[in-house]
Symmetry: C2
Subunit: 360 residues, 2 copies
């Protein structure tokens, strides 16, 4: 039995699209050129009827327009060249999706403009990088990522009073090696809405600590972190993806789960890579829950996210992380960790072994 349409369609979209009626009217006017300032990109204008449009903003992703496709002529009614040019729409701009690749000193990420969360955020930690403690999170501030167009960006106000933490995907504690490195983890393009107590401030934090402790066994560790929106079987037997959307208007998705794909490298040229993939629900998780309960094949994360993580890594070089080391979290209470974290950084040369590895 298909659902029946009601009158909410337009209303829902209006909520996604804009805020007050006044803003909406102004937006509409701007779109149709009824009033308002001209756009700055008018110099990009090219011909309106085109078969070989040159599209400045889309050259990296757009293929050449299919100007005169040869068509089979065994039917005399078939034209010798295609009468249409579907790619000609690129003259008005390449629709995307654009993933807003960001390369900062502490992370590399790709952004999901529809859900206003990252697709993935990649980081790299080593025993040496974690020992340097020149960045202090008291000097870092959450900030919108102004490299993402305003209409697709997550905003500070979207998170306000949402009930969710601004959850770092690359943890601030992994980027203590400079203030700039730490600051760059505070961009909202490195955040997703996360359940705070019982998850972001607890089990997820212990899991992040687990990743740091891997540097006691491996000289180089890469971690890719991101959100998932997984289906659940409901009472009617159907599978549904269902997630909250926060913000004003509601536009930032609250992921149902988070993944980490871990690459623990042996440090040799063409050496082995120990792989671990984990998927945790964005929910309260009891501290005594074994980490290995959340281990999944890398391919499971790939199928669920639409991403690929190990396409160029030959199977002969792959090891399974949790067969080599014991995959488990060490529980440390949040208040203790906060105290440790807020303590002054140790003087140069006074760093104790493993200090960075056991603190968040």
């Amino acid at each position: 039995m298909p659902p029946r349409a009601n009158s909410m369609s337009k209303f829902t979209l209006a909520i996604v699209a804009g805020a007050s009626a006044a803003v909406g009217a102004a937006t509409t006017a701007a779109i149709y050129g009824l009033s308002g300032p001209k756009r700055q990109d008018e110099s990009h204008t090219i011909t309106t009827t085109s078969t070989t449009a040159s599209i400045p903003g889309a050259t990296r992703t757009a293929p050449p327009a299919p100007a005169a496709l040869p068509i089979l002529r065994d039917d005399p009614k078939v034209p010798a060249i295609a009468p249409v040019d579907p790619s000609g729409v690129f003259q008005y701009g390449f629709p995307g999706p654009v993933s807003d690749l960001r390369s900062a000193c502490s992370l590399t990420s790709a952004f999901d403009r529809a859900r206003r969360n990252p697709h993935w955020v990649a980081e790299h930690i080593t025993p040496a990088s974690l020992l340097i403690r020149a960045g202090d999170r008291r000097h870092s501030y959450f900030a919108e990522d102004t490299n993402i167009p305003e209409k697709f960006r997550a905003k500070l106000t979207d998170y306000a009073r949402s009930g969710y933490d601004r959850g770092h995907q690359v943890p601030a504690a992994d980027a203590k090696w400079s203030q700039e490195a730490m600051d760059s983890t505070f961009a909202l393009s490195n955040m997703c809405p996360q359940v705070g107590d019982g998850f972001n401030r607890d089990y997820w934090a212990h899991f992040e600590d687990f990743c740091r402790r891997l540097t006691t066994s491996y000289p180089s560790v890469r971690v890719v972190t991101g959100p998932l929106y997984l289906p659940k079987r409901e009472a009617d037997g159907k599978w549904r993806v269902s997630y909250e959307v926060i913000g004003h208007p509601p536009n930032v998705a609250v992921p149902t789960h988070f993944y980490k794909v871990i690459f623990a490298e042996d440090g040799k040229m063409g050496g082995n890579v120990s792989l671990g993939a984990f998927v945790l629900p964005n929910a309260v998780i009891a501290n005594d829950k074994p980490l290995q309960d959340f281990e999944v094949p890398v391919e499971a994360v790939e199928r669920a996210s639409g991403l690929e993580f190990v396409g160029l890594l030959p199977p002969t070089r792959r090891k399974r992380l949790c067969q080599e080391i014991h995959c488990s979290v060490i529980v440390k209470e949040y208040a203790d960790r906060q105290r440790t974290m807020m303590a002054p950084a140790p003087q140069k040369g006074a760093i104790l072994p493993n200090t960075a590895l056991t603190q968040r």
Copy 2:
């Protein structure tokens, strides 16, 4: 009150990832190189520890690795060069998302690997293209898009017994100008699960007919069509996106809505473009519902989809379609349309005016 985790996390993901336990075990083994054939792309192997990795598969999208970022040195504890290389993970492959751009003679599209639907499908129709009737849909067959990797592709079996139609985004009836053109609309990368009776076979079909009828007023019409996944305010006051996922395992999303962005061109170089954007729920819609109830600003579709449609079109060239022509559907019963559609194509030279414009 945050949700509490239960044990379904891993189970849910397993459903997304694979099928039977046997398949799952084989998958895991292949991923960790425990057994099974070697991958063909082993020749792509490059160094494992890298600061300037060359990544054959990722060169189009990957930025150069930040090998030696200069860091401010006002703090003596801060290293002169970055101790980490976050983009080095690209040596294992660029995570994506890859949007599988497809350029066929009848359409151009981008694919969403996570939801296994297109992001958008663009087409171009003209009075001339609709008059040519060399393609016959009785000779076209629904087919999987083998250009998309198997694990991200929608499959014929995913739709089987789902209760949803394989809904064309670019309609077959817009590509009658050659059999090849029509065939290319039958790839599953041009489909989304659509409610059949009352939507795909009725109101949505009338809407597609409306687009074709625009060619009686405009010499060139471009239409971009695609799915949306819109939030709805629920009883608890929160906004949630909720959509069914069909297939085996469940992996093809059922959109909550569909959009069309219409560009009706006046045919002059640098001329005017009449824009119309519509968002319809994927649900039964009464035939007497006015089409204009579904009109929205283009920007509303952009914010909801994360895409951009008119970035390079100056406001001075934009007109509002529904201010220029009467935006309404003409209801024609499904059975009548089917009969017309299945009738033999007219002989060359015997094409009646407007024939193609009133038939589906």
